[in-house]
Amino acid sequence: MGLEVGSNPMSMDAIAALLAERFAGDLADIRIQEPDTIRTKCAPEQLKDIARRLKDDPDAGYETLNWIAGVDRQASIESIYHVYSWQTNTWLELHVDLPRENPEVDTVTGVWPAADWHEREAWDMVGIVYLGHPDLRRILLKDDFIGHPLRKDYIDLAENHPHA
């Protein structure tokens, strides 16, 4: 019973066309990355709404969150969401660009429960603030660590090394 992989197989072009049609204007720059991933962008204000619509889409519902990564692009900071659609057996990579001085974006834990820890890790490593997250605290580093290590301008502080 139940959860099948690829119950509604579609070609990549068909999925791209479907996304372009249903998310006209909200998802920008839809590109196909062979063999089975679609890359796209959206604005941070619309993330929550788009996430909900992506998950609930009847033909290509992206129901599972694979990972969330924070990337420091020096001019901006990006939060990447990699989601999986069971029906079409394809992936979608959603890039959200955030301003560097204030990298805030809505949490998607209400849509994909797996986002809990992934967002905590992005906060820990890159410093993206996920508004509305139930428990946004450090996950991999110790609680009193200063700084966000995966930023390109991170400097190794002596306070972070009491046992040097």
Partner: protein, 404 residues
């Protein structure tokens, strides 16, 4: 010894657990149906603990023997791998990827090497692809032996014979891999475009001999526990992962397949020469501890089949694409790529962004155990502490991957 031993201050996780108890009491959930107040205790399991399989810390809220809440605290093995990727060349980074999921090193290397090959447009040779599948499956077998062995070692602390037999047989597999790559555990064997060494003389016949012996050895393990009433009582019906959990938390690998979800990336997103091989996706129905054990044992048998097929189909040819020496410095064109593969624990992948230089710009791991561990609070609550230990053993965590 210090003159006085100071009890450390409760840290964030313990404070959170205490806060949750207070909130539950304030909401009126502080006593049971008969009006007896719960006497909840916050107990720390780990990070040094024989049953947490590495430096995992579980802050457990216990009411007697019953686990009310679990807060996993990780990061005790955080080795800064994603930052180190930005300071090592692609080639220098291969031994570091080895050490992520250290029980299944070949599979970890394979995911990273495949991602870089896709970015750089390198096509591995056909012989190398078959050798990669053979070593990947051997590594998968060794990993499952460790996983099931340590799981049964948790049920009765090192008191089962199973763990001894499984580690003994893992040695035979490691002998083969050592003869091939030079190391017992972290092999540093995969290269961009192929593998480092060709199979030594006589290796294929030794491998075939071992694959002929393995089914009987697996029968031996199963005869130890499959009919054991205590094992069945402790494992059946406990720690059920539902299909909704699989979707919500991104559970992959044997943990998902035990819940009747036929997700195997070797089938659903085939890579290498898996499309040409004949193997089954092992699933089970109920999603409890026993089914996860069952799926891993079945996968051992499937891996034997895959290795035997590859040995039969092994073509002649070079094991390295391009020049005779490995490309020590490669500079993939700017771009990004994510490749997820079927690691023994689930979908393991690396997302690499390249800016055209010798060093990766960003490397992000998708680790299966990190996603599986998120399920712990939901999975362990409501069980007795002994069942909690059994469940956490059956999920098969490797902290090297969780903490990176």
């Amino acid at each position: 010894m210090p003159d006085e031993f100071v009890t450390p201050e409760p840290d964030e996780a313990v404070k959170l657990a205490l806060r949750r108890i207070d909130e539950a009491t304030a909401r009126g959930e502080g006593s049971d149906a008969d009006g007896l107040a719960f006497n909840e205790v916050v107990v720390n399991m780990g990070p040094q603990h024989p049953s947490t399989h590495g430096v995992l810390r579980l802050v457990v809220t216990l009411d007697g023997e019953l686990v009310k809440d679990v807060i996993p605290v990780i990061g005790y093995l955080h080795r800064c791998k994603e930052k180190l990727a930005e300071r090592r060349t692609y080639f220098q980074y291969i031994p570091i990827v080895d050490r992520t999921e250290y029980v299944a090193s070949m599979n970890c290397e394979w995911a990273y090497v495949m991602t870089v090959e896709k970015l750089a447009g390198i096509q591995p040779t056909r012989r190398a692809e078959f050798i990669r599948v053979i070593t990947g499956e051997l590594s998968r077998m060794a990993s499952h032996l460790v996983a099931v062995g340590t799981f049964t070692a948790d049920l009765a602390p090192l008191g089962t014979a199973m763990v001894f037999y499984m580690f003994r047989d893992r040695e035979y597999i490691l002998d083969l891999l050592e003869e091939l790559s030079g190391a017992r555990m972290m092999f540093n064997y995969f290269r961009f475009g192929g593998v480092r060494y060709d199979l030594p003389d006589g290796w294929t016949s030794k491998c075939r001999d071992l694959m002929k012996r393995m089914p009987k050895l697996i029968d031996e393990y199963e005869s130890l526990v499959d009919d054991n009433a205590i094992f069945l009582q402790r494992t059946q019906g406990k720690g059920v992962i539902t299909q909704q959990d699989v979707v919500d938390f991104g559970i992959t690998g044997p943990n998902a397949r035990a819940s009747a979800v036929a997700l195997d990336l070797r089938r659903s997103r085939p890579y290498s020469v898996y499309p040409e091989l004949d193997f089954e996706v092992c699933t089970a129905e109920h999603g409890d501890i026993f089914d996860r054990y069952r799926v891993r044992m079945d996968e051992l048998r499937e891996s034997i089949r895959i290795v035997e097929q590859c040995l039969d189909m092994l073509p002649k040819g070079p094991v390295q694409a391009g020049a005779l020496r490995a490309p020590y410095v490669i500079t993939p064109p700017p771009g990004s790529c994510y490749v997820g593969q079927e690691n023994p624990r689930g979908e393991y992948g690396t997302y690499i962004e390249s800016d055209g230089s010798r060093y990766p710009y960003r490397l992000k791991y998708r680790d299966p155990c990190f996603c599986n561990l998120q399920l712990f609070p939901k999975l362990l609550s409501g069980n007795k502490i002994a069942d909690a230990v059994a469940i956490s053993g059956s999920i098969d965590l490797v902290l090297g991957g969780i903490d990176r």
